[in-house]
Symmetry: D2
Subunit: 134 residues, 4 copies
């Protein structure tokens, strides 16, 4: 398993008039978390795009436990529990002062950006993440 | 079952550099669809808030089939398949030129905005939607 | 002068915890207004992009008079007061129930998307808008 | 003059299909910059709200020089050049690798959140910022 943690400060523009983070904005947090998780492996999502790969999201599940609030400092933990093949799945847990307030699960596929066709996880990603699965 | 259809035009600001709608922005479309579905019942979500109720989202599931693109005119169909009680569930299907491109399922609870406590679906909503369940 | 009016319903996700539309989201409204203004001329911004032009924003000025609120139905009026040449300028006025609540001025340039270089307004746009300037 | 610098990493969801940050999203960057500028003074915008003040934006001017791109690490410098009274003005400069790519100027007023009326800058802010103006 590959696991990574990052922190995010809630922006004012991410809240709505209920006084909590708008429910669609958690997707931005998932994104930051997985981008930083990939960066910590030693490559960047930008490298992947420049090498001709895109990673469109194909499935999201979100469970809202408590609403994150303006200026909260959130810890976002992402876990990849299975070696990516046709898909990569990030399990996300968001905690605020050690309390779990949100769970997410994001499944992405890999696409050749020239042809638009789905492909297997690129070797440049696999060689970085494989060591975590032995 | 209560069903409602609305249309949305994709905004430029909703796309990302992959050239498709950013995955988190579908939540805005779900919102427009359920707000219009409620309006068509003869009350508004704003009325509900002014009467002291809030409807925070507690769960979302999204399945991305094809990416919506800039300027697409999307049809968003929302269905409430069970009479709301502690929760209300909207099943959402987004179609583009009669092809299904996205599925969503959004579960919301009801909250008393003064106490912050969860409550049952308010009667002002139930009296409007109940006729669709006989 | 070319003038156009469109309407927008404020979305919940566009508000912030102050209970009004987040100040950055007016840019989405300007966008919808100018896109619809162009569409009404008989071409679309998408057509322009497909013909190899992009219109990046180079300057924005916004004056916030009253905050737009959730579910408000806003009227957005866009005016092009000078025939576009190297730039096109949209003057935007947002009204709510006939009261002016927001003013904006958006200047865009024209870019050849292949070379990335700035160009003059494309003829396909000029031929549609020129009649309004005689 | 009070000056502060902060850094921001461009998120994927902040780009649009032109491959640059959507023009309205710079407002999020201005917000992060001024919030961190205030925090560095030794109070938070959240403290101000909890003390009964709000700071709605009344005016924005933006000049787009070069488009910020996905994953760019931007430096955002905010300057308050005059002691706040009825308004506070933040001059923002965004640089990427020491090149200025964007300028902004954001004017906010102060409002008593209970009455909704405009007020002078609260003393709790002035006492922190006054030393920078002697």
């Amino acid at each position: 398993m590959y696991q990574h943690e990052t922190q995010i400060r809630v922006r004012y523009g991410e809240t709505d008039q209920m006084g909590i983070v708008y429910y669609g904005n958690y997707c931005l947090y998932y994104e930051v978390a997985r981008v930083e998780a990939i960066r910590d492996l030693g490559l960047t999502y930008k490298d992947l795009e420049e090498a001709g790969y895109q990673m469109p999201v194909v499935r999201v599940e979100s469970k809202y436990i408590q609403g994150a609030q303006y200026d909260d400092l959130l810890t976002i933990s992402s876990s990849v529990r299975e070696l990516p093949d046709r898909f990569i799945v990030f399990d996300v847990e968001i905690t605020r002062e050690k309390t779990s307030i949100h769970l997410g699960k994001v499944t992405l596929c890999f696409r050749d950006s020239a042809t638009g066709k789905r492909v297997r996880a690129p070797e440049m990603l696999l060689e970085k993440i494989r060591p975590y699965f032995h």
